[in-house]
Amino acid sequence: MPDDTRRPALSYYRTPLPDVDYSEFQGKLIVIEGPDAVGRSTQVRALKLWLEEQGHAVLDAGMARSALAGKGIKDAKQGNTLGPRTMTLFYTTDFADCLENEIIPALRAGFVVLMDRYIFSIMARAIARGENRSWITGLAGFALVPHAVFYLRADVKDLVKRVVVGRGGFDFWESGLDFGFGPDMYHSFVRYQARLIRVFDQLAVPYGFNVIDASQSADQVLNELKRSISTIFETPADAPATPRKART
């Protein structure tokens, strides 16, 4: 994995986008990453309220919601007929549309952009399905470097518990059934999510993830996130932001 990541926040990892002036960004980009059912969305909701309480304008965004490709991805997932590489590229299209039309304008306007998943989820899903790492790393090279990436980390058994208790059932895509990691839904879920966790772990160091133990209670996780996020706002505006080191 190339060390693309010792790059200042709000620059690109490897490839600049056409027609983007990187010097005019003012806001903060904060990413919550992690496997399915780890509790990201709960944390994003709570963080948004907390940040707004402090007077920050917050844009929260996520995957497969873009104006361009969100609907197409949802339709494609209904039919399950797109191959893994096609899905990777469809999600990357969606990500690019969100980046260029939502994230970048919000950063120009000085918003705090709070992302529920980022390009790393697309990378992890692709790599877990056997995709070539250097290809996907190059593809992802146009993403903006966030001020912080919080990786909510849990073991598979924690995820299983959350799915059973919190959702009451397993999901086709979260179980990786499109690829068939196991003979049935449960075993496929376990193997697929274990692979995803392994890939996220591998991305953590090169991309400077801030690893948070998600087996703690939601309140404990939230407090840890708040503590770390506070330090982002303490950085003087004129000092270059630096990627955060993984805490593991």
Binding site: R14, T15, P18, F90, D97, E100
Partner: protein, 239 residues
Amino acid sequence: MQTFMPNRCPGRLIVVEGIDGSGKSTQISLLSQWLRLEGYAVTFSEWNSAPLVRETTHRGKKKAMFTPTTFSLIHATDFAHRMEGYILPLLQAGAVVCADRYAYTAFARDVVRGVDRAWVRNLYRFALEPSLAFYFKVPLEVALGRILGGRAALKYYEAGMDMELSRNIEESFRLFQGRILAEYESMIDEMGFHVIDATQSIEAQQREMRRVVGSAFGPGRPAGVLSTTTEVGVAGRHA
């Protein structure tokens, strides 16, 4: 870095490239008919044809939502679907796949739109290496004459109107095609194109294509390449 994945399938992939109006579609159509008559199992692949992605592409085009990056990515998505679901299995089965446009179209068009050259080459690295790639070389004015003479209306993205080169759609098309042409020309050596002089007569171009294909395939049918006559023919002859 290798541009594409080596094709280890028994089938053969023949690609035609060139700007609009270069006559490549006519030529690949004639070539595929000839190959069919020669007994090959021939299939045809066009640029931009996967139904699942088409809806998104249409939405983006209708509402002019594309940026150079999303335009590039949606076409790569479509291409990946064609590759995974159509071209690869056919090549594995031993077919001769004739493709009207291939990744080179994206290399030319996306770079003209400002997308990073190395990034878009990496984007298509999963594509299989064509057995033969023909480039139909034609002066801009000749191609423009063929297009602008015969067709009713140019489309927004086709004319590169998103690049704001000119407010006049025909002028925008000229400027856009001119830049694409320059990008193609710069790829000839890098990509190892067989250059066809597309100002020649249709018949002369087709003769040259058939000669190149014939000598690439060699005498007799290459091993593993599927034929419409193999089973019956071979069994019949040797029985």
